[in-house]
Structures are given as structure tokens and as C-alpha cells.
């Protein structure tokens, strides 16, 4: 097969795939979670009575037994670090200084874990099992989004 062997003859066209504008429905469980977060500064989970599992973020179904869930429990703002990573580049590959500390936060044995950021702590101080608490934005700044939690910080 004949192929292009001169780089100067290779052509391309720039394009843009429009995926910027969506209206993501938070759903029934999301409504409960974000309203409680914004209005009361609480983190809610959805509990499955028969499996003994609490889901955060909450869902209206249990992934173990497929039961419909409608019991919401206040998980409090304190948890511990299940795992963490120190991210030293941003999405465009640029160095992050200071780095971001990203973590899975555990709210207890029978509860699923929440992905979030750590703050007010140095990377070398973080360890698995470290006790942390959520730092929320002041109520007037909260929008009912996961970013209403600024980050989790060590409990002094």
C-alpha cells in the first residue's frame, strides 16, 4: 500500500467535541444528601437494614441485596483516612506546589467510603487510619455540592 512518507504532506484538522453542557440530576438520594449538607451541615448515609451496610454518598438501593433504601443516618463529620495519595501534578501535567492530598475517608466498618481531599496537614504527616474531620464552607457559601466540604483535616 502506498503511504505518506513526507511529514510535510501529513494533514490533520482540528475539531471540538461539544460535551460541556449537562444538567446532571442528583436524584432522590442526592437531594437528601445535598440538602442536609447545605442546610444542616450534616453528612447523611443510606442504610440497608438487612445487609447492615451504610452507603455514602447515599443511594436508594443496596448493591448487595438490591433492596430499596429509605433509611438515612447522620454519619457525623468525623472519620479516618482509609487510603491517600499525594498528587504532584494537575490535570494539565503542571507541578502542584503544594501538592494535593487526596483520600478515601472511612466513617466506620460497615460504611462505604467517601472520596475527598485532605487539608491543614503536611503530606509526610498523613497515615492510613489518621482521624480526620470535615471542614465545611460557611452556610451562606454552601451550594449543595460535594465541594461544600472544603476538605478533611486531622482532629487535633
Amino acid at each position: 500500500m502506498e503511504k505518506i512518507s513526507k511529514p510535510t504532506e501529513i494533514k490533520h484538522q482540528l475539531g471540538h467535541m461539544e460535551v460541556d453542557h449537562y444538567h446532571y440530576t442528583v436524584g432522590l438520594a442526592g437531594e437528601r444528601f445535598f440538602t442536609a449538607l447545605r442546610e444542616e451541615g450534616k453528612l447523611l448515609g443510606a442504610r440497608c437494614e438487612s445487609c447492615g451496610v451504610t452507603y455514602i454518598p447515599p443511594r436508594i438501593y443496596c448493591e448487595e441485596c438490591f433492596a430499596e433504601l429509605d433509611e438515612y443516618v447522620d454519619l457525623g463529620l468525623e472519620g479516618e483516612v482509609r487510603s491517600f495519595t499525594i498528587a504532584r501534578i494537575d490535570r494539565d501535567g503542571r507541578p502542584l506546589d503544594p501538592p494535593e492530598i487526596r483520600a478515601l475517608i472511612s466513617f466506620g466498618e460497615d460504611t462505604t467510603d467517601l472520596l475527598h481531599l485532605l487539608g491543614e496537614v503536611e503530606p509526610e504527616e498523613v497515615y492510613i487510619g489518621m482521624e480526620v474531620e470535615a471542614v465545611l464552607k460557611p452556610k451562606r457559601e454552601r451550594e449543595g455540592k460535594v465541594t461544600d466540604i472544603r476538605y478533611f483535616r486531622p482532629i487535633k
Binding site: Y55, A87, I89, D90
Partner: protein
């Protein structure tokens, strides 16, 4: 019971960029080679075509409608699987196994160099309400999982680094692998901690390329070619999409393997499998996957690796192709990359990295971040 065999393989070169060929031309090249290898005419002999792709990787929507012409599939039965190539292979397997068709073609490719904002698109795979708003580079999730995998199993950073050393070394013997290198463990360990404990040299770079496989019913396969390779089992599984619900044990790989082993009649994988190709897009994943597949006991894959068990001359050679670390991350073509090496080895066509007399090989794929889905295929050389 009907058997299913691979009767033709076709592939392009794998390259970090492919500025001269469009994605359709890459597919055409791989398909043309596969049909020549199988000695078939796609316009007459193939009853069903399956492609594997994800719209966002391609840069346009409804990918499946763009595929017939470059495969010789116009006005024929065809469909697209929005997933890894091994899932396409599973579909082809079922179509032949059920007796619906006798010859089926599977295609997967990567023209990921066309995508100028890979990290942003990968971020679109994160939950748009609970995960994506937290921002960041999507690979941080691998750093999170790696740290927990190390903590759970006692695997060391040195053992993970040794995966990258082995696979990049293997890639030097594979003319299809553009990322081969003779590097030392120290090079990997001293490469930047991008998402600690994950290091730069432990992350597979992207690659372009296309692979086409021709499958046929067992008896027909023997008439078509004397180098047919049996596909004896294929399984797949998806875990919870929620990162905070999964554990760092790659359960998707274990469940997929259990199904594939049962179909293939494998009861003792360590004894019965001669070589394996497993997903290694992040170096620690190779060790985690080997343990999930039952090819090493939990927490022991790293030590076995250091002892040489997974080397070319070890008891279970792993990723002789170079894996994704050596061949490049070919997005949805990753699983067929792994399968291709097994088929080449079982046909005795693996060149400088050819094993003496392999009979059974395993190929395993993972869908990639942020997901917990995988597939496993078992191949056997015709007696």
C-alpha cells in the same frame, strides 16, 4: 460441543503517534492482514463483525455507525461493544458457541493520539456529581489504590518498580512495543512520585494501533488453517462503580477468571497455565491482577517477581509482550494486545521472546480508571 478458534490475526504497528493514517485506515490495515492470515474474504465468509470503542476516545458520537466500510462489513451483521476488546471477543465466542454463526470478526483499536485532552476526557468517566467536582488529575485514583494494595498485602514499592523493569525489558524483544527500555529498578524508584506512592515510570504511556481477530467454529477452523488456537473460556465481571465501595483486591479479575477457568476446565491455574498477559497500566496492577487470577497467593506476587518467576525463563512468564508498560496503553484495544501475544506464542511466532512449548495462555484486561471491570480469556494450542 462446538469449539471456538482463532484462525486469523492482523495488527498494525503500535506507535505513540500515527499522523499519516486515519483511525479508519488503521482498522483497514489490521483487518486486511487478519483476512489474509485466515485466508478468507470478508465480503463472503464473515457472518458477523464486532468492534470495540468508546465515543469519547474517538472524538465523535455514535461510533458504531462509522465502522462497517473499513472492515468489509457494509450491509452485514455488526455491532459495537462500548468496552475493552476482550468483551468483544466474548461476544464473538458466544455467537459461535451458540451455533448462530461460524465465522466472526472482532476489532479494537486506539487512535488516542487524535485526542488532545486525554486527561480531561478520562475525568469525564468519574461520577459527575460526587467525584469529578473534586478535580485533579484522574490518575490520582491509581495512587490511592496502590497505597492501599501495598498496605493490605505487604507488597513493596521496590516490587512494583520491578514490574516496570521487567515489562520494559521484555518489550525490547518485541518489535511491536515502542516503549522498550533497559532500565534498573533504581531508575523507576527515583522517577518522580506523581501520585505517591505511584511513580512516573510505573504509568503506561498511550499508544495508537489496531488489532483484528478472526474466529471460527472449531471444525471449520481446522479446515481453514493449521495454526488455529482454541479459545477455551472467557469470563468478565464488573464491580461497584463506587471507588469507596471497592477493595484493593481486583475482585473483577477473580470473578472473570473463575468463569473462564470453569469453561476451560482449569482447576489449578498455577500448574496449568504456561504464560499470562495481564493488565499492567499501572505497575502495581500486574501484581494485584496476578493474585486475583489465582496465579500467585495474595501478597506473594511481588516476591515471586523478584525471584524471577514471571521472567521469560521463569515458571510463569508474564507480559512477555512488554504489557502496556512496554507496548503502550491502547485504551479499548488493551485486551486484544494481551490476547495477541498469547496467540503469537501458541502459534510459535513470537520471535526472540518465543517460549519453547507453551500450550495454555491467559489474557486479562481491565477497563481502566476509574472502573472495576475486567475480562479473562483462556487460549490453548491445538493438540
Amino acid at each position: 460441543m462446538r469449539e471456538v478458534s482463532i484462525v486469523g490475526i492482523g495488527y498494525t504497528s503500535f506507535s505513540p503517534v500515527t499522523p499519516d493514517l486515519s483511525w479508519k485506515e488503521l482498522m483497514f490495515e489490521a483487518a486486511t492482514r487478519a483476512y489474509a492470515d485466515a485466508g478468507i474474504d470478508p465480503r463472503k465468509d464473515v457472518q458477523s463483525f464486532i468492534t470495540c470503542a468508546e465515543d469519547y476516545w474517538e472524538g465523535f458520537s455514535i461510533f458504531d455507525e462509522f465502522t462497517p466500510d473499513q472492515l468489509g462489513a457494509a450491509l452485514r451483521l455488526m455491532h459495537t461493544v462500548a468496552g475493552d476488546g476482550l468483551l468483544g471477543l466474548a461476544n464473538a465466542y458466544m455467537q459461535i458457541k451458540t451455533g448462530l454463526f461460524d465465522i466472526v470478526v472482532v476489532e479494537a483499536h486506539s487512535k488516542i493520539s487524535d485526542l488532545l485532552t486525554y486527561e480531561d476526557v478520562l475525568m469525564l468517566a468519574f461520577d459527575p456529581i460526587y467525584e469529578a467536582p473534586l478535580g485533579g488529575h484522574p490518575h490520582y485514583l491509581a495512587g490511592l489504590e496502590m497505597r492501599e494494595y501495598l498496605a493490605w498485602t505487604g507488597t513493596t514499592e521496590e516490587e512494583c518498580a520491578a514490574v516496570a523493569v521487567k515489562n520494559k525489558w521484555n518489550a525490547l524483544r518485541n518489535p511491536l512495543a515502542p516503549y522498550g527500555a533497559a532500565i534498573a529498578r533504581e531508575d523507576v524508584l527515583s522517577s518522580p512520585y506523581l501520585f505517591a506512592p505511584l511513580k512516573k515510570l510505573e504509568i503506561a504511556p498511550l499508544v495508537d494501533g489496531a488489532i483484528v481477530l478472526v474466529l471460527a467454529e472449531g471444525e471449520l477452523a481446522r479446515r481453514l488453517t493449521d495454526k488455529a488456537v482454541l479459545l477455551e473460556g472467557i469470563g468478565w465481571s464488573s464491580e461497584s462503580p463506587w471507588v469507596g465501595t471497592r477493595l484493593p483486591d481486583a475482585r473483577y479479575a477473580r470473578l472473570a477468571a473463575e468463569l473462564a477457568y470453569a469453561q476451560a476446565g482449569i482447576t489449578n491455574p498455577i500448574q496449568e497455565i504456561d504464560l499470562a498477559e495481564v493488565d499492567d497500566r499501572f505497575a502495581y496492577k500486574e501484581l494485584q491482577h496476578l493474585e486475583a487470577l489465582g496465579l500467585a497467593r495474595p501478597g506473594e506476587a511481588g516476591q515471586l517477581l523478584l525471584e524471577g518467576a514471571f521472567d521469560l525463563d521463569g515458571q510463569l512468564p508474564v507480559n512477555l509482550s512488554g504489557g502496556s508498560l512496554g507496548m503502550g496503553d491502547a485504551v479499548e484495544a488493551g485486551g486484544l494486545q494481551r490476547a495477541l501475544e498469547i496467540i503469537l506464542q501458541l502459534r510459535g511466532e513470537a520471535g526472540a521472546r518465543q517460549l519453547p512449548d507453551p500450550e495454555v495462555g491467559l489474557a486479562m484486561s481491565w477497563r481502566g480508571l476509574p472502573h472495576g471491570s475486567g475480562a479473562v480469556a483462556i487460549f490453548r494450542r491445538e493438540a
